[in-house]
Every structure is written in C-alpha cells, then in structure tokens.
C-alpha cells in the first residue's frame, strides 16, 4: 500500500521501519530538518521537509491517491487538519491520527477521520476491562517478566470447580503450585480436587498467561 506519514519523531521512526519491513511504499513529511536528513540517510524513501499542515508542502509530497495518511503531530487540531486535507484534497480515503485527548477519539470519527488513536483512551479501556475481574485475578511478574505468578479466586461458576488437577489441561507452560483453602495451604498433586472458594497460585509464562487464566476462570482475558 502507499502510505503517507506526517509529523512525529520517535513514533514515526518505529512506524516507518515497521511499514517498510512489510513492503509498503512510504512518503514522509516532517518539519524537523535534522530528522528528515536522518530519515533520508537511514531509509530510501522520499522525505519532504516542511510543515505537513501547509497545503504547498503536501502538494510537493505527491500523495494524491495514496491509500493511508497517518498524522503523528503532537497537536490534535493539527492532525485533524492533516487528515481532513488528505481526504478532501488528495483523495486519501483512510486517515489515522494520534490524539492526546481521549475525547478527541469520538470527535475525530464524527468529523471524518477513519481512526483516531489515543494511548490514554486505550489504557483506560484496558484498565476498565481488567477491573471487572480485579477481585478475582492478581498477577505478579517475576524474574524480569519471564515468569508470572497469578492468584486466582475460584467460585462455583468457574469451569475447574469440582475437578481434579490431573483432568485439567494446563499445558507445559503453566502449573498450579499451591492451593489456599481457608487457612490451609495445599501443595496439589494429580488427584487433588479444586473447590469453590479456593485460591489458586498459578505459575505461567507471560505468553500462556491469558490462555491459562481463561481455562481456569472461564473467560478470555484481554
């Protein structure tokens, strides 16, 4: 696809690398002269030096009919202007903007930008999702994140309540290392059964964490 990237610094850099590695055709517009020089030297792509918000700069970029415009400037209003100009004047149908204010996400959609992305918005959504199971799941990374220990509260609705350890298919990357039942600590063996109101301590790798929690708690975690 032919993609235009306007503005941004570090974000733009990572994005450009990723997009180039997937074989997309890029044009970059940026008002930082040093950064433009760096980009020219690092990747072999057309780089236009100038403020992407200005029409005469966009004209130079030759982006008419491109597939996607990505606006990464720090100001929401600037990114809106870039995306709308891309759509109306250069016939770029898909526009993506990064926004600081999470409220801008909806506003941008209503004003014609295909997608607006706010880190705050996404983090808030994630936390909200997590907080609905907060009382049931706690996790702690150990060994620099190579292992995660999960504390899972079992209730009667969970699929493992009433089952034995040997009947559960946790896979190779996870193990239930401890069951806390009331005031008792149980180191479980194959024949140990799990009861409602047990607290399980489960060791897993970060990659298998979601699957294991889903298996034990009965729902997919985000």
């Amino acid at each position: 696809m032919r993609i235009a990237v306007a503005g941004g610094k570090t974000k733009a850099d990572y994005l450009i690398r990723m997009l180039l590695s997937k074989g997309h055709e890029l044009v970059v517009i940026n008002d930082d002269r040093e950064y433009c020089t760096y980009l020219c030297q690092t990747h072999r792509i057309p780089v236009i030096h100038g403020d992407p918000c200005k029409l005469y700069v966009m004209d130079e970029a030759g982006i008419d009919g491109f597939d996607i415009m990505i606006a990464l400037k720090p100001s929401d209003a600037d990114n809106l202007a870039i995306c709308q100009t891309a759509k109306r004047i250069y016939h770029i149908r898909k526009t993506v903007a990064v926004v600081g204010n999470p409220k801008s996400v909806d506003i941008f959609k209503r004003l014609g930008v295909s997608t607006a992305i706010s880190a705050t918005y996404m983090i808030a959504g994630y936390i909200e999702q997590m907080s609905t199971v907060e009382s049931l799941v706690n996790s702690l990374p150990l060994d620099q994140g190579n292992i995660v220990i999960n504390e899972l509260m079992i209730n009667q609705n969970s699929p493992v309540a009433g089952r034995k350890l040997c009947d559960m298919e946790l896979g190779e990357d996870a193990i239930i290392c401890c069951i806390v039942r009331g005031s008792k600590i149980i180191v479980p063996k194959g024949q140990t059964g799990i009861q409602a109101n047990d607290k399980l301590l489960v060791l897993s790798t970060p990659d298998s964490q979601n699957r294991v929690i889903g298996l034990i708690m009965g729902r997919e975690q985000a």
Partner: protein
C-alpha cells in the same frame, strides 16, 4: 425591535478575541471567553463583565461546562488556524451552534470549513482591502 440577549463563546483571548469580548459585553450579551493562558485575559477591558475560563478550547468537557449547548454564537479567535478550524467544526457539527465564526490567517484552510456554514474572517484579506481603500494607487 426585540433584541434577545445572546450567549457568546469566544475561544482565544487574542487582540481580536479580547476586543470583541469587550464590545459584546458592553452591548449587553453574555460573553464567555476561553484561553489556555491566564495572562491573556489581561488584554480584556477593565469593565468586561463576562466569564473567563482557562483551558484548552478544543476540549469537549470544557466546552460543555462553558455552556456551548446554550450558545448562539461561537467565535474561534485563537492564533492557531488549525485549532480554530477544529473548534468551528465541533461547534457546528457536534453542538449545532447557530452562528460560528473562524479567524483564519491562511486562506488555504478554506476547504477545512467548507460546507458547514462557518463564517470565515481572513485578516490578511481584510488588510489588503483596507490598503486599497487607503492608498492612492489605482487598483
């Protein structure tokens, strides 16, 4: 002639915004002026009787608190064309404000506010008109 008092929101306490705020307030309308910098309000005339709000003029929460739902007029008077365009569009498309004005330094921005009945004010053009009026050059 029945002149109802209007609620007017002015975004940006620039010289234009401040001057306008002063005159409208004297005229008897309810004026709310917003700027991200508290010091900007020093430009307001001493007898200004409206409200001053410090904040980001494109923040919907702030606009709703300022009463954009009841405003009959919104004037986008900041120094940043893009902010003025964004606010003007929000005022028309999302809050359905009756009269929306945008001050734009760059005439190329016209396409951003097209089709929405936003009244644009171009200081550069007005200055040229005034020059023509004042100068002895026959145009």
């Amino acid at each position: 002639m029945w002149n109802r008092k209007k609620t007017i929101i002015i975004a940006g306490c620039s010289r234009f915004g401040a001057g306008l705020a002063g005159e409208l307030s004297e005229h008897g309308d309810d004026v709310i002026i917003i700027d991200k910098d508290n010091d900007a309000f020093r430009k307001l005339p001493p007898n200004f009787s409206g409200f001053q709000i410090v904040g980001n003029v494109t923040d919907p929460d702030l606009l709703e608190d300022a009463g954009i739902g009841n405003a009959s007029v919104v004037v986008a008077a900041t120094d940043d064309d893009n902010i003025n365009c964004m606010l003007a569009q929000m005022a028309r498309r999302i809050y359905d404000v009756g009269e929306v004005f945008a001050r734009l330094n760059d005439t190329d921005k016209e396409h951003l506010i097209g089709g929405l009945n936003i009244k644009a004010i171009y200081p550069a053009r007005l200055s040229i008109e005034k020059f023509k009026e004042l100068s002895s050059i026959a145009f």
